[in-house]
Symmetry: D3
Subunit: 285 residues, 6 copies
């Protein structure tokens, strides 16, 4: 399911304003009125995400550009693949190119990195999930890219999920509240539609939080041994989410501990852009 | 010189709206009215950028939070450094934490990566420069981070610099224009305040473009040998910018060819976030 | 916990632009530069909500108006109560008055209506909850007002809760999916932080959905008898939410069936404004 | 005459952003790509308003949804009436449904309440008029709904009409100005295109204000007897507007006093939403 | 009465974004952290308007700049007058200078031109009024400037005044409606707070429109002779507004015909900016 | 090359909101649903600019209005020329008319004034250039109009060009920096894509700045004699821009001194609107 246009049109408009400034002076100076064909060419292997954003960027610059999407988001792509073709005014395509690619490259980079984590845990009953460590202003797009890479979304914002984190606990424990009291107090006031997640640092804390009624436990920076202990100790009374220090190297071992979710901020804050370019030729319409 | 607040206030407001949704339900449910002290703690070595953006985020959530900036942007930081302290309402600090860190981590990541390139070419008369391959919506911040890392900014948008790229040339050559005609035509219409840059792929093209009056030549994906040829052939008649395929491994060798500028999209599109966290303690005001 | 200013400043700015137009021509024509004191006077009994929004409206018009909040949101008020006093430029107070009251009256109206439902079910283990039937553009404020009236919030948006409603089921059943398949499919893809709610119309559907693993059941327009049947049949395997046809007259009887949540769109879409006015006197500073 | 789209597109975009959040997770999880037909079904008698806003909401979510408007704004509707049909992607219709109905229900509620007042004074030469007591951010729509219900608009904002209210008079009288001076001073500076309205509380004040040249008198909370006195005393020298304490029960008696306009904030601040729903069926295109 | 900040803060923010782009590269490159004093110096005689907008611009760039307003809007100024002094960071003052002056020069230009028309009709009972021919996006400011120059505002927008213009009449007359029917129909539906103005081209039309009940007549491009005829013919039954072809040369003669209002688009669409500059000196704080 | 719509759609939307307010009450009251034809008629000689903005305004009000552009921007027009025809709903055309004309008249006014300066220097190798003295919020349009009049654009903002002006020098000289140091320091940090311009007031300063490596010299308010001296002294080492006190009377004499660019703020801050109107007739579709 594509992202509704109404949710991204402002993001795209701002990106274009940022890149066009008061207009593309190179193109204005040099390019005659003519038709051209731009091929969106992938230059390294990965997973595609954002192809309809690219389409929407072209249409935002010039509604007469025709964009043929050849490969859909979520597909694996290889170097040499042409994933879309834009036909129309050469000037318009040149002016839209960079912004269109900036979106596509970044989102495909996230989808690609996510897919590597997903691939690494293949066959194991675990979710690779994102975090709130996304680029300011682009969360809706980056979380979409995680899904395209086969990952799952964690909560979107502070308003749609409860995680009682170490910094909350630092405040609450200083007033002597028990985990049971804390979980009960949270449950009492938040919407009945959300689960209660608690960050824990030891197996004992995990067990205590599960017994206190937490729905999900975030195992923060635990060793594999501790995670296994938590899986045993909690024994299905809560979902377990491993978080912190997750890498492509250790993700499968983490998954093998039996946790239900592995979340990583790196999916969104440290993905490299996928190399994609646009090749233009004149008159090819 | 700090970025004027008026240029980032909307970026910050949108990031907060995105992360707060309809409010921080965890904090609302649990955290009493109390004062707290949050220490912004660096967890890996790098170069800081965005500390005043972090400050502005805290103030946007609650103007009564007091932020002490202990380390200024551009400084080298090490794991364990506390770079700022936020004091005020525990609830406010908790609600602002993630957005504040998202900005600081991303910008410091860019500054850190840039500084590695700058370090790698130390002593050589060359600029490390960014490109337009920035995160949509954050260009003003990301280009600032490049400067904080010791890098230089290339043009900001299509309106404030002329680069006649391969895709322009694909259109122009199909109508038989010579490089001399192309450069002259560009010069003729663009503001007298900007230089004319041309993308070239061979030494011959470089020499031709220099003779045609281009001010800057972008040497696109040339081998080191070709770059040296371009340096010799152009002989100071134009600035030379190496672009494409730049890595930390080869950047010094590129610099040693004698080019004036080395630009890399990776500085902004593929930097990893710097690991920075916030540690909260109650009543510490 | 107050609503963060950053979430309402645009709502307030637009409301002021709407009401000020190109300026208050009456005040501009007649009112001299002088100080005045405006008393915010409640004229009928209810529950207050929005007093800090009123304060923010006054400050948005003139940062020098001093607002003393005498009664906090959530408090019961009676006719004759003065809940806040604004002191400052007479012109500024006159220009801000209507917008400030429009917010306060509407939100207090919602809090008041909510509190009547809450009062009606006093002593019973049930939540009065809102819906998404809120005024376009004001959801964050209206859901706050529900909380101030002692009610609870349901999901905020389509992105932070799952309700499989009759219209979804109309589509899904036409392709022959069982309730078990539907619930499993939803669980499989949505964030692990949210619960799955299903709308049901009969006791049988309720039992089936609970057995299929739904976390919450929305009992749509059921009779009291059917609700009791659902409570018995589901036997604690899911939370039960009564919805549809809830009135102040029948809400206690609904609560007595044993459902966990009673939700009503009327709290927000059909609340009457609470009668509140501002009385101005000159020179009283 | 429909409201120009340019005046409501931002209101609609914000409402959709508010309700979609980062996307409709229920629909995304469950609904296959398929066509559906949604019938907009009225469930209680009233007057319709906002049917083209509903249409615009559907188009904002998905420009390919086809909306057939079967009943135009201003028409009387009864329970069971289908007023519009939306055909297109099932997912899109499901995602747009709530926002579309929220607008339509609220505006139809206002039109319906207005029409009851209009009906109540049928045959008498009097206008039912709205006030500035509208929902913040929706004034243009709510005043439209009043017109659809047969009512009339009062001034839109502080900038397009002059009403010298009790709070103005409280300031002005403290400096000893006479009504004649006050009206003259207002006339002297406001645009020549607007009339001068004065709020009065007694027959004597009414007569004095008319003699002072006021064009319209707002009779504030007068008894029927006083209103009749004002009608006699003013004798056509000014328009008379009854305001305050107007109800469906007393509105005809007020009209019979001979006043020209009866205004009521309740039309917009206390109207109940009209019950309207959307019934979806698959494949019906 | 100053324009409420909330009405101009977006206009100012956009103007600064437009002028700062991604930052003031000259100042950033060269200017050290130091204090400076900028004197706002008038360089030709005129009437000041916008001095508090200039102040707000400086504060929008840097809230620590101290602005002393030495001359208030509406005052006559001469070459050499210093009307305000800004003290603070040299960089901030340099970055804000152009935008601040652009507002002040344009608004003072309008006030100055208006004041010349006002001066030209001194002693005669006539208003100089503006039109809707204002700069897109700046109407609230430009109409303020007209008032500062001693002029009066006509309607602000299509929603707050009725003018039945030639283009309306072209449509209406083609369906054979009489002036009496047209005026009655307008009166019947527009708010009771606004007057009905009709554009007329001959004395006969003027008399007919007055008899039809129009409140104001716009005498479009009439000769002085015709205007005198209209004044005699209408005989006080309506206000008369002369419009079209008004110049500083003929405005007094027009006023002497006895019309009540003279309106001119030139006040806003063709005013020359007043010459005002900023002189900076270092360390002067 | 037309201005991309995405760069002006917000400017147009705001202008329409400003002019429509809550709707066109005159048209709403009087005009039946009917088709009409509006001819955009030039009433004085000049150069056209903004015809596609006019088109976009009509489409923003009603996408069904058909606009035929008969004369393109940049063309010379004479009184009596019809430059565009709008066909469609009479109401829509009437509601859009003023805003459409406001843009077209202002931009054509700027193009016309610019073309007079261009005409005045015909045959001489000099550019007529604009400045940053543009109307706040409309720079992108006004600089477009300058180009349509045959002029050239100077830098767009503080971020895309370096001009070291008198106010910078006032600060810098107080710390004893030489021109050579100043130019070098600027060059060292600004993007390599921009030139360095320096404002000079004497021939000696001009020569010194050229020798210091400045690319462009702004000759500020120099006499013709001094300009000639600067041309001789600089001898082609830098571009020379005459600025200050430029009029239609002296511009050719300035050009004859041999300067390369003549810039004038008057092109944008003091142009008179070109007289253009719309003539409507019914049923002409």
């Amino acid at each position: 399911m594509k992202i509704p246009k109404v949710l991204v049109q402002e993001i795209i408009a701002r990106a274009l304003e940022e890149d066009l400034g008061w207009g593309d002076i190179t193109t204005r100076a040099l390019i005659p009125q003519c038709q051209a064909k731009g091929s969106v060419l992938v230059k390294e292997a990965g997973v595609l995400a954002g192809i309809h954003i690219l389409e929407q960027v072209f249409h935002s610059v010039d509604e007469n550009i025709q964009v043929q999407v050849l490969v859909e988001d979520g597909a694996k792509v290889r170097s040499g693949d042409v994933v879309a073709i834009a036909k129309g005014s050469a000037s318009s395509i040149l002016s839209a190119e960079r912004v269109a690619l900036n979106f596509l490259q970044r989102l495909s980079g996230i989808a690609t990195l996510t897919s590597r984590y997903v691939e690494a845990v293949k066959g194991l009953p675990v979710r690779i999930a994102d975090t709130r460590k996304t680029t300011p202003g682009l969360r809706v797009l980056e979380k979409y890219a995680v899904r395209m890479g086969g990952g799952f979304n964690h909560r979107q914002s502070l308003s749609d999920g409860v995680i009682i984190k170490d910094n909350h606990l630092a405040i609450l424990r200083s007033s002597g509240q028990s985990m049971r009291e804390i979980v009960a107090k949270a449950r009492e006031s938040v919407p009945h539609t959300v689960k209660i997640e608690v960050e824990v640092e030891t197996v004992e804390e995990a067990v205590a939080a599960a017994e206190a009624g937490a729905d999900v436990l975030m195992l923060d920076n635990m060793s594999l041994e501790e995670m296994r202990g938590a899986v045993r100790g909690v024994a299905g009374r809560a979902l377990l989410e491993a978080s912190g220090g997750v890498t492509l190297e250790n993700v499968r071992r983490i998954a093998e501990t039996g946790v239900d979710i592995i979340s990583s901020g790196a999916l969104t804050h440290s993905a490299k852009a996928l190399d994609i370019s646009l090749e233009l030729e004149r008159g090819a319409v």
